[in-house]
Each structure stands twice: as structure tokens, then as C-alpha cells.
């Protein structure tokens, strides 16, 4: 059997960035992903904020990677052709307790080496963000923070890793791992893989994947979050990422002016519902109530979508009467476990998006140390070009593109102005579901939420894949959009 150097389990942000980091070396790397596409897990349902680095404990790996990730994000996004808005963040307080938190974060930020941090008076905050409540008493401004579409970054890393020789295999859920003299033998439903080292980036399942070969040590105790998305008619309502630090116990409000001009509101923090990823009525109501307090003029009739997310909270566990119980306190830094050629990233939550590249690099270095090093590939190219984005083009440039490739002239998605050419290109690059096309092109993300374009996207997917439309899925397996043809 062919022996690989590294098998990565999971193609979320972390698996994709680790793959890209390893692609710079003369190594045989394969990524096994249970789902049909990259970035369908935690990496697609999160807040999309690039954190400046004042929220985490000084001296931890998390802080080091966050500050580095944040600083390098603009250059990384240029390299990978991903839209990034370095809009800055504004943490706001409406009282003394929250102000004390702001001062603590300011001090931590200085210690962490975050640049440009400023404590602001209420007047200065309101001058920057006139739509905030006049109950604001102070602010903490971080010019280095920003936002991007998290899946866009992950997809870019995937394409770039693939272009540099990493093999991605989808529909491959790793169900068994055995150590053997050559390293590890991994089994999925259909295949076995022999590899010298394993990188476990299985997101919410990373603890279970690790326990296929190791005894329990860290387990994930998930909690849930709810979000609202507003129509891009809300563009400009706030200009910075707003973190409202609550005066009382509980979660404050976060507002993100996204790269597409929508406003993202959330997340809440609550216990898991029965269905992972579902929103809870109470959570959505809480967001609306918080908006009424913090941004009273925000028109909530502009909501076009709500979605749920799952937080992979890691805890050390110990056995008590046959049950693995969590320690009382959570783990403050990132959990990177190294166990004889098995490197596991467990419970990487915020700011895992900000840190995706440095954490991928870090994991790659751990694996290289285990493998005894490897030569750098001279032909490694870190650059990737995105799908042409028509709405960002000048008229003449766009006209020239349509002239040479007429599919770019036919508009499919009315809200975001996405053309058939972009949809076809997304499918060529690996989108195999309606949501896969949506993440790559924005088709279906606008105010009509696919009401107009879904049918056309469905037809293009069916045509490209040579299957009937009734076989095309919205998302993962079993999510056929249609019920059949009568």
C-alpha cells in the first residue's frame, strides 16, 4: 500500500491551512474529509471577525498566534485573493463594570503587543458610530481588527493547497485509526490509508477522532449560538465591528459590517438545542432585544436570515465512576496535543479563524519535527486567484470578460448580481451542492435568499455533474432539494 507522509483528518479552516503549510515541503499529504466539500462545519457558521488580540491571556500560544494572525491577515488575503475589510473594532461599555473590563482588555492588549489600541470617551465613540445608543459610556478601539467571510478564506487555502499538490478526498469519514510500525492505518467506509503521521483537525469531532487511538484526555462539550443577518440595505449603519460588553452577567451584542455589506448580529451563548446548528426562538428574541437597547434605530425588518452555530468548548476530563467528567474550568489556550506522530487540534474556537494560518503553520512544524524534517519545494506558489468577482470590476474590464466568456454576461442571482460564469467556475473548483455554490459565489445570499436563482443553480449543478436535478443536494448527503420528478 502507498504510504503517505501526513494524513489530515478534516477540511475546515484548520485542515486547509495546515495542508497549505505542508504543501510547501516535499511531502505526500492527503486530507480526508467526511463531508462533500470543505468548510461545512464550524468554519462556515461563526462571527467572521479578525480579532486584534487583546481578548486572550498574555503569554499563551493563543495570544501569540492571534496577534500574528491579525497582523498578517491583509497580506494573506492579498496572496489568496480573498476580500478582507480591516474596519477596526470598537468595544463599548454602558456602565462602570463594563468600563473596568475595557481597561483590563486595554492593558492586556498592550502586553500582547496589539498596535493602535485606544480607550475612548463616550463622545468619541458616538462620533465614530452615531447609531449606537447614547447610553454608551466608554469604548476601546482596535484599528487592526476586521472581518472577512470565513468560508472564503478556507476555500482559498484549500484551492491553493490542492494546486500545490495536496490531495483532498471527500466523503471519507475516518472511523478507525490503528498504530503500526509504519505509523498509522486509517480506515473510512470505503478505503484504508497508511501514513507516517496524522493531523487531527476534525473540529467538533476532534476529541472522538483522537480517542480512536488514545485514551480520553480532552473532550468537547458543545454549546450553541444564534445569529441574524440583515439585508445589505443596512450597509453603513455601523462602520466598525462592535462588541458590546454587557454591564450585567450574560452575553453582549456583536455587530459585524460584513465584506458583502450585510450586518451580522450575534452570537448568543446558550445550551445546545436538540439539533446541532438549529436556532432557538429564545436566542433570536434575545438578539432582537439587545439590538433594541444598543442600536435602537436598527430596522429589524431588514433581517433576511438567521442561523445557528456550535461552539466546540474543550475541557480536560477525568474518570469518575465510569463517566468522563469535565474539569470545572475550561482551557484558556488552544489545545494542541502531540502523541507520537498524532497531532490533535481540539476545541479550537474563537479566535481560530484569525489564527487559521499561524495555527496551520504551527501544526505543520510539529509534524515536520516528528517526521525529521523535509526539503522545501522550490515550486511552491502561495498565490491563488479567486473566481472573477463581477460586481467589483470596472465596467470596461467586465465588458471584456463577457466578450471573451459570454457566461459572465448572464446574471443568475438577482440580489448579488452573480453570473452563470461565476457559478460554472465555482462548480469547476469543487462546489457540488447549492450551498457550496453559495459559499463560493454569494448566489442565494442576498435578500431573496435564492428564491430566484436556486432553480438555475440546481440546473447548472445537475448539468455539470451529469445527474438529474432531483439528485442535487442543498448541503450534505440526504439534503436533496427536490423530492423527485413527477
Amino acid at each position: 500500500m502507498e504510504t503517505r507522509d501526513v494524513v489530515i483528518v478534516g477540511a475546515g479552516l484548520l485542515g486547509c491551512f495546515a495542508a497549505r503549510a505542508l504543501a510547501a515541503y516535499a511531502l505526500d499529504v492527503t486530507v480526508l474529509e467526511a463531508r462533500e466539500d470543505v468548510c461545512t462545519g464550524v468554519s462556515r457558521a461563526n462571527t467572521g471577525v479578525i480579532y486584534a488580540g487583546y481578548d486572550t491571556q498574555p503569554g499563551t500560544l493563543k495570544t501569540r498566534l492571534c496577534v500574528a494572525g491579525s497582523r498578517g491577515m491583509a497580506a494573506l488575503c492579498r496572496e489568496l485573493d480573498v476580500p478582507f475589510s480591516r474596519c477596526g473594532s470598537l468595544m463599548i461599555a454602558c456602565g462602570e463594570k463594563a468600563e473596568a473590563v475595557l481597561r483590563r482588555k486595554y492593558a492586556a492588549g498592550l502586553e500582547n503587543g496589539v498596535e493602535g489600541l485606544r480607550l475612548l470617551t463616550a463622545g468619541a465613540v458616538r462620533a465614530m458610530e452615531p447609531n449606537l445608543t447614547d447610553r454608551v459610556t466608554a469604548g476601546l478601539y482596535a484599528p487592526g481588527a476586521g472581518t472577512l467571510d470565513p468560508w472564503a478564506l478556507g476555500i482559498a487555502a484549500f484551492e491553493n493547497a490542492q494546486a500545490n499538490g495536496v490531495e483532498f478526498r471527500f466523503g471519507q469519514a475516518v472511523g478507525a485509526i490503528r498504530r503500526n510500525p509504519g505509523g498509522f492505518l486509517l480506515e473510512t467506509d470505503t478505503e484504508t490509508y497508511q501514513t507516517r503521521a496524522v493531523l487531527n483537525c476534525a473540529g467538533l469531532a476532534a476529541d472522538r477522532v483522537r480517542e480512536l487511538v488514545e485514551a480520553p484526555l480532552v473532550r468537547i462539550f458543545p454549546s450553541a449560538a444564534d445569529y441574524l443577518v440583515l439585508d445589505d440595505l443596512s450597509r453603513g449603519f455601523v462602520r466598525h465591528v462592535i462588541f458590546h460588553e454587557p454591564e450585567e452577567k450574560g452575553k453582549g451584542l456583536t455587530l459585524v459590517p460584513t465584506v458583502s455589506g450585510n450586518l451580522l448580529v450575534g452570537p448568543t451563548e446558550r445550551d445546545m438545542a436538540v439539533a446541532p446548528g438549529a436556532t432557538a426562538a429564545a436566542g433570536l428574541a434575545e438578539l432582537r432585544a439587545l439590538c433594541a437597547q444598543i442600536v435602537p434605530d436598527l430596522d429589524l425588518d431588514l433581517v433576511i436570515r438567521s442561523f445557528g452555530a456550535v461552539r466546540p468548548n474543550p475541557y480536560y476530563v477525568r474518570e469518575e465512576g465510569g463517566v468522563w467528567q469535565p474539569e470545572a474550568r475550561g482551557i484558556p489556550s488552544f489545545t494542541v496535543l502531540e502523541e507520537g506522530g498524532l497531532v490533535s487540534l481540539i476545541g479550537i474556537k474563537t479566535p481560530g479563524l484569525t489564527c487559521a494560518k499561524p495555527l496551520g503553520d504551527y501544526a505543520a512544524q510539529r509534524l515536520l519535527a516528528h517526521l525529521g524534517g523535509a526539503a522545501r519545494r522550490p515550486d511552491f506558489d502561495p498565490r491563488r486567484r479567486g473566481i472573477p468577482n463581477l460586481s467589483a470590476m470596472a465596467e470596461t474590464e467586465r465588458a471584456a470578460l463577457v466578450l471573451s466568456q459570454p457566461d459572465y454576461g448572464r446574471i443568475v442571482c438577482r440580489c448579488r448580481g452573480v453570473s452563470e460564469g461565476e457559478v460554472r467556475e465555482a462548480i469547476r473548483r469543487g462546489a457540488c451542492t447549492v450551498d457550496g455554490v453559495k459559499r463560493r459565489t454569494g448566489a442565494g445570499m442576498g435578500r431573496c435568499q435564492g428564491g430566484v436563482c436556486m432553480e438555475r443553480v440546481l440546473a447548472l449543478l445537475a448539468e455539470a455533474r451529469g445527474v438529474p436535478a432531483s439528485a442535487v443536494c442543498k448541503d450534505g448527503a440526504g439534503s436533496e432539494v427536490l423530492h423527485g420528478t413527477l
Binding site: L284, E395, T485
Partner: protein
């Protein structure tokens, strides 16, 4: 750059009638643009009867109603037609940017009439919690998929909202052998026309739950059911289904005008007709309004 007396965006009932009205008003060069590949807007997917009762004094189906105007347009050399073409933007200098497979093109016009129809409120705009599985459709989308695509959306269907489109689709699903498990309406009275209530809901004994709403969607990959809440008692009930169709209302589609408004007022060279102006229940009133407006704009 091509120049026109009147640019009409959208070739549904409103756009087609407006073009004919403009010709009647003396316009020599009218450009009628639609992003779809056929004339008629929503009419081709409305394969039920009930069109033209007052305008033609006949009970026509949607496609037939559209065909009458298409025939008149075929005899109107003053009207240039561009299908499969999207108007991307309108500028204050009275030019419009058109995009199609034939190219990206700017045209100039003296007046412009928006006949862009309406869009449906998506489920995300409603206060409905739960998962976002496959099998959730808006009513107009469902109508197009079923009537023009020939697709089957589910076998046990819940319809949220009791407007005309919802009622017509309830009958359509029933006729295709699907079970409409329930139609749920938050108001105390059904939203659509009495004739549709009778012909589509009562005639097929479709359970109509008034003062109730859907609060939650269930199902991971595909929808498995919805929670229906009685708004008077607060009681909740899990209703199994394999498709949810939302008929939660139409919003006039006026995005193209947005950049041109000054304090909410459009420039005098810009008009609106049909569902783009306000939501019309009956196509005949769209036709009458658009004919008159097209004629008036041509004379202005």
C-alpha cells in the same frame, strides 16, 4: 450608444402592456428588457384559470393571458425586445447598463419605467427558529419549480400563509397527488381572494388553521416537520411534513431606483408599474394601469 424614448425594465404583464401603451402614445423607439427567457413574468407559471375576467371578459390561464400581449408586441415594430438580459443599474445621466451573453452594454433613454414585479419574503425574514434544511420553498418559487420544471417538492406539505399564491399552490399540490397537511395563517381570516378560498381550499378540504403560525423547522438534511403554534392558546404541535412552502408576502422590487431617489422621490423621468408599483391581486388591473402609464410617459 443606442438611444430610446422609453426603457421598460421587466416584460411581465406590466412591462408588456406599458410597451403597447407607449406605442399608442406615439413612442417610436421602446426597449423592453427582461432577464427571463420568455415574455410574461410570473404569468407563464400561473397555469390556473382566473386571468382576464375583467379585461377580456374571458377566463384565461396565465400563459394564455401573456400570449395575447406577446402577439400584439410581435406586431409592434416600435418595440425592441431583449430577453435573457438583466438591467444592472440605472444612472442619473439616463443611461442603463445591460448584461447578457451578447455583452455588457450601456443604452440611453429619455424615460424609464420599472416593471420589475415583486420578490417573495424568504423564510429567514420570518421569525421562525430551528434548522435550515432542504425542502423549504417560497410559494412563487415552488410554483415555478412545479409548473415549469415539472419537479416534485414533497409528498406531505405544510403551507405557511394563506395568500392567493399559497392557496393556488395548495390546490396544485393536491391535484398532483401530494397531501397538503395544513395551511397555517396567523390572521383570523384567510389572506387571499374569496374565490380562491372556495375553489382551492374548501373544495379540496385542506385543513386551514387560522390564528396559528410556524415557530420552528425540524430536520437536519431535509425537513421532517414544523412546530405549529396556536396564537390564542399558545399550544404547540409538531406537524410532520417533507416540504414547507412559505407564502408570506410580496415586496415590490424597486432596487434599481434606489440610487436615484432624492429624499424618497424618484426623478421625473422614472416611473413604476405593476407589482413593482404596488402589489396587485388581479392581473387585469396591472394591465390597465400599465397601458395608461406607458401612453402617458410616451407623451411626456
Amino acid at each position: 450608444m443606442e438611444r430610446y424614448d422609453l426603457l421598460i425594465v421587466g416584460a411581465g404583464a406590466a412591462g408588456m402592456a406599458a410597451a403597447l401603451g407607449a406605442v399608442r402614445g406615439g413612442a417610436a423607439r421602446v426597449l423592453l428588457v427582461d432577464r427571463g427567457d420568455r415574455l410574461g413574468g410570473v404569468l407563464p407559471q400561473c397555469i390556473h384559470h382566473g386571468f382576464g375576467l375583467s379585461y377580456f371578459h374571458e377566463d384565461l390561464r396565465g400563459p394564455d393571458y401573456a400570449a395575447r400581449f406577446a402577439a400584439l408586441l410581435a406586431d409592434a415594430p416600435e418595440v425592441a425586445l431583449r430577453l435573457d438580459t438583466t438591467v444592472l443599474e440605472l444612472s442619473a445621466d439616463r443611461t442603463a447598463l445591460l448584461s447578457s451573453r451578447a455583452g455588457l452594454e450601456r443604452v440611453a433613454f429619455r424615460r424609464c419605467l420599472l416593471c420589475c414585479g415583486a420578490r417573495e419574503k424568504p423564510i429567514g425574514a420570518l421569525d421562525v427558529a430551528g434548522t435550515r434544511p432542504a425542502g423549504v420553498f417560497t410559494a412563487g418559487q415552488a410554483q415555478k419549480l412545479v409548473n415549469l420544471g415539472g419537479y416534485d417538492l414533497g409528498r406531505r406539505i405544510v403551507i405557511l400563509g394563506s395568500g392567493d399564491i399559497g392557496m393556488i399552490m395548495a390546490r396544485r399540490f393536491t391535484l398532483r397527488g401530494c397531501e397538503v397537511v395544513m395551511m397555517v395563517e396567523q390572521a383570523a381570516a384567510p389572506g387571499g381572494l374569496a374565490r380562491n378560498l372556495h375553489a382551492c381550499i374548501e373544495a379540496y378540504r385542506i385543513p386551514l388553521r387560522l390564528r396559528a403560525t410556524v415557530t420552528q423547522v425540524h430536520g437536519a438534511a431535509r425537513i421532517t416537520g414544523v412546530t405549529v403554534r396556536d396564537l390564542d392558546t399558545g399550544a404547540e404541535e409538531l406537524v410532520p411534513c417533507d416540504a414547507l412552502v412559505t407564502a408570506a408576502g410580496l415586496i415590490p422590487e424597486r432596487e434599481l431606483a434606489r440610487a436615484l431617489l432624492h429624499g424618497g422621490t424618484p426623478p421625473d423621468w422614472l416611473g413604476f408599474s405593476g407589482n413593482c408599483e404596488h402589489i396587485h391581486e388581479i392581473v387585469d388591473s396591472v394591465t390597465v394601469q400599465a397601458l395608461a402609464l406607458g401612453e402617458r410617459m410616451a407623451k411626456m
